[in-house]
């Protein structure tokens, strides 16, 4: 069988332009579950930020040679039972959970869970809390302003604290909930990474859009940075121009990986 790309696979142009730079050596795995939708977008974002995307399949038993992992958005297993509840049991997830929680080494694997990926991270107990249906009970897709609350994580170090960025929000079950004690802990430890600016689009507790683990290598985010990486193809920022703020997430992890090498 020839290994021609599937229709819709991201071309090589963007990556080729940057090959040979230190960043292109960083390999970012993008996991596809049955029902994953934004895997090609996430791969494109990695490439545009200068990294090398590596396609990972949920049923693989080994993580292989990757430096970080993105769990992209979508409806893994149709969101049946509960969003992310089935995906967390995928063979590859146990490897990711182990590598991310640092049990394997002192250098835990950076993991970004976007939307459904965030839901999977909470189901896998890498992050606390969970997501329930939006308070208005409808799917919502909009250009969303976020405030950076923590720029000390693997995925946010290229942002300024307090900076307002615009990415895309699109979800059905995006209302972040946790008990008061957990929320207080998250706030106290600076683990709320992003908050919605202005109107709270899904009723999330304390306007939380994204959280990180204590080590700062695992980030769960309800909105979609991978849809804000190219002028002309993403959301409009507060200034009325196309936002490419999403690139900052991927640039952050690449920068950290290069620094670590």
């Amino acid at each position: 069988m020839s290994e021609t790309p599937l229709i819709g696979d991201v071309g090589t142009a963007a990556g080729a332009a940057l090959s040979g730079t230190p960043l292109s050596g960083a390999r970012i795995g993008v996991v596809t579950f049955p029902g994953t939708l934004d895997d090609r977008d996430a791969a494109r974002a990695v490439k545009l930020a200068g990294g090398t995307p590596v396609a990972l399949w949920h049923a693989d038993s080994e993580l292989g040679d990757v430096d970080a992992v993105v769990l992209p958005g979508g409806f893994s297993y149709g969101d049946y039972l509960r969003a992310g509840a089935i995906a967390r049991f995928a063979p590859l997830m146990s490897k990711i959970t182990k590598a991310a929680s640092g049990a394997a080494s002192s250098n835990p694997l950076p993991v970004l869970g976007i939307c459904n990926g965030f839901q999977i991270l909470t189901e896998a107990h890498l992050l606390p809390g969970s997501m329930i249906k939006n308070d208005h009970l409808k799917f919502i897709c909009r250009d969303q302003a976020l405030r950076v609350e923590n720029n000390r994580t693997a995925w946010t170090n290229q942002f300024e604290e307090g900076q307002e960025i615009t990415v895309v929000l699109k979800n059905q079950d995006g209302q972040y909930v946790a008990d008061e004690k957990t929320l207080d802990e998250l706030e106290g430890e600076g683990r709320v990474a992003f908050r919605y600016v202005g109107w709270n689009p899904n009723g999330s507790r304390r306007g939380i859009a994204g959280i990180t683990n204590a080590a700062g290598n695992v980030l769960g985010l309800m909105p979609h940075p991978e849809h804000a990486v190219e002028p002309g193809f993403g959301p409009l920022g507060a200034d009325g121009h196309y936002s490419t703020d999403g690139l900052g997430f991927f640039a952050s992890v690449l920068s950290q990986l290069v620094d670590a090498k």
Binding site: I7, P34, R40
Partner: protein, 776 residues
């Protein structure tokens, strides 16, 4: 999950009506009338077979000869789309009408396939599932061509916005489209939302899908190669979507089972998403010879179409079909419209690789039989023959009706009742304050108001290739990351125009769609249509249909773009009251590089750009949105000038390609008032315009200048440095062009000098408040 047909099913023991049994029992009463067949049609089946049909054969013929599947009332008219094709129109057409969807060459080895279809009746009965499975069905048509689906669109028509049943339909249909489409990862890039009491118990839910493919991946629905295997894969077959089959079930063949089953199919978008990826992997490795989706008429349709388009014969063992409900009769299995199923033809050498792909994606499949050269479609049940037919008689040689039609007698009176002369057209807004109030009223009206209450429930970003979407004139998606190659699509229809004159109405729908694609900057290439009409048994409705098809085929010829596929939906009426004829026309255009696409509003960096109006404004208010606001419908629709549309198209496309325009918006419903308002609202950037020169040149008053719906017009924003070149280009083509004013980034209003100043915030509040007010 169980992959493959390793689960052994035991065939239930029905009193099977075999071919042998049918031949020996000619006098058995069959429920052909309950299945919707006419006496002459039943007699034709007996003649074709030389005996009475078996129960299974009757099931197949009844669904395949239905209006929905056979186009028996519309066929004689639809032929014009083929007959009126010119060589110019065929130039880029790779696949035309008759396959699952038409295919157009995009160059660089890429092709695009698109089609619009109706799911009107199911969506009225069960709005969520009806609308959801409408998306599912059209997407499978696109996959069947070997393409990756890349976007969807939904032209919708509802009853009056304040009717008590409208919220049920709006909520159900919109969430059904979102729930299914969003789960497939397909951006929803546009469509229409129209409210009119004529659609009260007959909402129109049309669904358009577009897909892209490499030339070598093109697949057709045919079963060729004797000895090749026939496989059914995807979801299991259940009792959903069986319309008339419940009648069969209650007949004497088996009376020990429950009767009525839901006639509306139930969708599982997760199963469809997996099916898409699984099919693309099959195409990538060239593992299927022919493929067909299972939609209306299920296995009956797939087997008969695959067989008759290929070597002409197929043998199928029906007990091999994996079932969700083991009590289904053979007839029900043949008629079931269970969703998320595909049928394919695979060479024996590829069987093992095919099974590997199924296992990777956890998709169930079962081998049903093989391709033969017998010229017969033979279906057995546990070895006993229950169907033995010439597949062409099922799939292609059904009845054809030349239904009587005549021009409605009431039409003369309606056409004489123009808006100006009517009582509704007497006291019209004239002062600045009155005109300002009228613009606000228009922009808050159900048809012209902001539709983001709907479109926010659809994912427009997934895939990362959407560069224009609702509310822009056309949806635009990139096809190739490296070159920027892309496509634009718009769908349009104005039921009021078509009611006043169906011939012109269909042409006006095409003209608007063409104009929308052109103003986005794309070169129009192909057409798809969804023809929504009342009952063909009413000669007046049939006349509307015949006129609309004739009009559309003629206009396509003039514009030089072919209809490559579409759908007909008849019987959209309650009692004797039919909907307005609603020929929804989708036009697809091509971009060499989508970076050159033109948004429909002035942008933040457009300060000081000149605002130009292209085209001529006449006193054309009949059938307009303004007349609609005053409750008036009469007269004649705006004059159509396809040559002017072509010239306008050429100007805006060239201007976009050469960087002479930064934004462009077509003029259609609501005229200049709507276009200027929408351009201001798009990015929240104001403008100052004056109407004096326009009124003087075209001999119209300010009211007419704002609200007339004259065709072949567009508003564009031209950078100062390009004004001379832009004017020269329009003048060289002898096309009317007039400078109206300037874009003003610092202004917080739309100012029509000497008449009114409309603050953007006030306009936005009126525009965005309507749908939330009615639907929460």
């Amino acid at each position: 999950m169980t992959a493959g047909n390793r689960t052994v099913q035991t065939a239930p023991k029905f009193n099977i009506d075999t071919v042998e049994h049918a031949a020996g029992t000619p006098d058995v009463e069959l429920p052909w009338a309950e299945l919707g067949l006419k006496q002459n049609e039943f007699e034709e089946i007996v003649k074709l077979l030389g005996r009475r049909p078996t129960a299974a054969e009757l099931a197949m013929y009844s669904v395949m000869w239905s209006e929905h599947c056979s186009y028996k009332s519309s066929k004689v008219h639809l032929r014009q789309f083929g007959e009126k094709l010119t060589d110019e129109m065929k130039k880029d057409m790779m696949v035309g009408i008759g396959e699952n969807a038409g295919v157009t060459d995009l160059g660089d080895g890429w092709a695009v396939t698109f089609k619009v279809e109706s799911h009107n009746h199911p969506s009225f009965v069960e709005p969520y599932q009806g609308a959801a499975t409408g998306i599912g069905g059209i997407v499978r048509d696109i996959i069947s061509m070997g393409a990756r689906p890349v976007a969807v669109m939904d032209p919708l028509r509802f009853g009056a916005i304040d009717h008590p049943d409208t919220p049920r339909l709006v909520h159900g249909i919109v969430s059904g489209i979102g729930g299914y489409g969003n789960s497939l990862g397909l951006p929803n890039i546009g469509g229409e939302v129209v409210f009119d009491s004529v659609y009260q118990a007959n909402p129109l839910v049309n669904a358009l899908a577009v897909g892209v493919l490499r030339h070598e991946d093109l697949r057709l629905a045919n079963a060729s190669g004797v000895g090749n295997r026939v496989v059914l894969f995807g979801a299991r077959t259940g009792g959903d979507g069986i319309g008339g089959a419940s009648v069969l079930a209650s007949e004497s063949f088996d009376d020990s089972k429950p009767s009525k089953r839901p006639a509306v199919q139930v969708g599982d978008p997760f199963a469809e998403k997996v099916l898409i990826e699984c099919c693309l992997e099959l195409f990538k490795h060239s593992l299927v010879e022919g493929i067909q989706d299972l939609g209306a008429a299920g296995i009956s349709c797939a087997t008969s179409e695959l067989a008759s388009n290929g070597d002409g014969g197929m043998r199928v063992e029906l007990t091999s079909v994996l079932l969700r409900d083991p009590t289904l009769t053979p007839g029900e299995i043949l008629m079931s419209e269970s969703q998320e199923r595909m049928m394919a033809v695979v060479t024996p050498e590829n069987v093992a690789e095919f099974e590997k792909v199924m296992e990777k994606w956890d998709v169930e499949f079962s081998w049903l039989g093989e391709v033969t050269d017998s010229g017969r479609l033979v279906i057995t049940w546990d070895g006993e023959t229950i169907v033995d037919v010439d597949p062409r008689t099922v799939a292609h040689e059904g009845p054809v009706y030349n239904r009587p039609f005549h021009r409605p007698e009431w039409l003369d009176d309606v056409q004489k009742d123009g808006f100006r002369a009517s009582s509704a057209g007497k006291s019209l807004p004239a002062s600045g304050e009155e005109l300002k109030a009228a613009v606000l009223e228009l922009m808050a009206s159900p048809n012209m108001c902001d539709k983001s209450w709907v479109t926010r429930q659809y994912d427009s970003y997934v895939g990362g290739n959407t560069t224009l979407a609702s509310p822009d004139d056309a949806g635009v998606v990139r096809v190739d990351d490296e070159t920027g190659l892309g496509v634009a699509i718009s769908t349009d229809a104005n039921g009021r125009y078509a009611y006043l004159d169906p011939y012109a109405g269909a042409q006006l729908a095409l003209a608007e769609s063409y104009r929308n694609v052109a103003t986005s900057g794309a070169v129009p290439m192909a057409v798809t249509d969804c023809l929504n009409f009342g009952s063909p048994e009413d000669p007046e409705v049939m006349w509307q249909f015949a006129e609309a098809v004739r009009g559309l085929a003629d206009a396509c010829q003039t514009l030089g773009i072919p209809v490559t596929g579409g759908n007909v939906s008849l019987y959209n009426q309650t009692g004797t009251t039919a909907i307005h004829p609603t020929p929804v026309v989708g036009v697809l255009g091509k971009f060499d590089d989508v970076a050159r696409r033109t948004p429909s509003g002035w942008q933040q960096n457009a300060d000081g750009q000149a605002v130009y109006l292209l085209g001529t404004t006449r006193d054309e208010l009949d059938g307009s949105e303004f007349a609609n606001l005053r409750g008036h419908l009469g007269g004649l629709p705006p004059k159509l000038d396809l040559e002017a549309e072509k010239t306008l198209g050429a100007i805006v496309i060239n201007a976009s390609r050469d960087g002479m325009v930064d934004s462009a918006h077509d003029l259609s419903e609501g005229g200049l008032a709507a276009a200027l308002s929408e351009m201001v609202l798009r990015f929240g950037v104001g403008a100052r315009v004056a109407l004096d020169d326009l009124c003087e040149r075209d001999g119209v008053d300010a009211f007419t200048a704002l609200f007339s719906e004259s065709q072949a017009r567009a508003v564009v924003a031209v950078p100062r440095s390009e004004e001379v070149r832009f004017n020269d280009m329009a003048n060289a083509r002898q096309f009317p062009v007039l400078r109206l004013g300037v874009v003003d980034v610092l202004a917080t209003s739309l100012e029509v000098q000497g008449l009114f100043e409309l603050p953007i915030a006030e306009l936005r509040e009126a525009h965005e408040g309507t749908l939330p007010k009615y639907f929460g």
